[in-house]
């Protein structure tokens, strides 16, 4: 094996398993490998810190929120139709005389408006696809 540290050599092959065989006969490569070991030991000074409590809880909350949003996703293309329906329902209510409307109808309008704002929120929060 030619010395990988010589000009024009491929020094990265010192990271391959056979490197020790060459290093046994080459002081320069032996030094390099010894230094590599020392460098790797210095990196051991950087030990991981414990994961903060609450990481999993926060993640599961995000997953639950994501699951809830997923339910709405297929309805997204219907947003304009839902908007039109909301306007129509509003118009019917306003034009249908002075007597008070049953509470259920107002609840329905509120629900549609809520749906529309959810749809908007989904758009705003649209997450990118995974890698």
């Amino acid at each position: 094996m030619e010395c990988p540290l010589e000009m024009g050599g491929r020094p990265e092959i010192l990271l391959e398993p056979g490197a020790e065989r060459h290093a046994a006969e080459c002081a320069r490569c032996r030094d390099w490998l010894r230094n590599l070991e020392t460098t790797r030991q210095a990196l051991d000074l950087w030990q991981p810190e414990p994961v903060r409590p609450g990481f999993d809880r926060a993640l599961w909350q995000r997953i639950e929120a994501e699951e809830a949003r997923r339910w709405w996703r297929p309805w997204r293309p219907l947003a304009p139709a839902l908007a039109a329906a909301a306007v129509l329902v509003g118009a019917v209510i306003l034009s249908s005389g002075p007597e008070p409307r049953p509470l259920a109808e107002f609840a329905e309008i509120e629900q549609i408006e809520q749906t529309l704002s959810d749809v908007q929120m989904l758009r705003d929060l649209g997450l990118t696809q995974p890698l």
């Binding site: 990265e12 790797r40 000074l45």
Partner: protein
């Protein structure tokens, strides 16, 4: 040394992920408890900011969960996981995200084992700081390669798949990274 990810059996992780795909969140919990540490530590060393690292790790696991329906055990689960983590880390670094919190190269040796003297503690902190700075000064791809090689004990072939390059390119990245680190950390020996 960290709990390396390379030694985990591929079949078991893939099996767990297939169970997640079949609608079993408990299996996701198992994968999470197994890999949350390695992923957070990798990201922390990548972006050098603990808050950003945890934020990114949340995103990594969220993406894994969201992608469960399309999961196919074509590659090692950890390759897929670290590919997502690396992608997010590189994006965050390019967006300058770690700097935003004004907390780059954050310390936080909060878990002193035993009670070292103030002087010992100072020396340790200063040596650790040198290591952090030396790692931070590496170009991003070299940094990612060295972190996976040293702390996650990944094989060249797996690092290559994570980084989307050839094995010889990985060795070349590692050679240059270790050369730079050796020059910067020689005095710690």
């Amino acid at each position: 040394m960290d709990m390396g990810v390379a030694s985990y059996a591929i079949e078991y992780d893939a099996e767990l992920m297939l169970r997640v795909k079949d609608g079993d969140p408990a299996s996701f919990g198992v994968l999470l408890s197994k890999y949350r540490g390695p992923v957070i530590h990798y990201l922390h060393r990548m972006v050098q900011n603990r808050d950003v690292a945890e934020e990114l790790a949340q995103e990594v696991f969220l993406r894994v969960y969201k992608a469960r329906a399309t999961y196919e055990p074509a590659a090692k689960f950890t390759t897929w996981l670290f590919r997502i983590a690396t992608h997010l880390a590189l994006n965050a670094l390019r967006d300058g995200k770690p700097e935003r919190g004004g907390q780059s190269l954050d310390g936080g040796v909060e878990h002193a084992d035993g009670r070292p003297s103030a002087e010992q503690q100072l020396i340790r902190e200063s040596r650790l700081d040198m290591v952090r700075r030396a790692v931070a000064a590496l170009p991003e791809k070299q940094r990612a390669a060295v972190l996976m090689h040293k702390y996650q004990e990944m094989e060249y072939s797996q690092i290559a798949k994570v980084l989307g390059c050839s094995e010889s390119a990985v060795k070349s990245l590692l050679f240059r990274a270790y050369e730079t680190l050796r020059a910067r950390l020689a005095h710690l020996a």
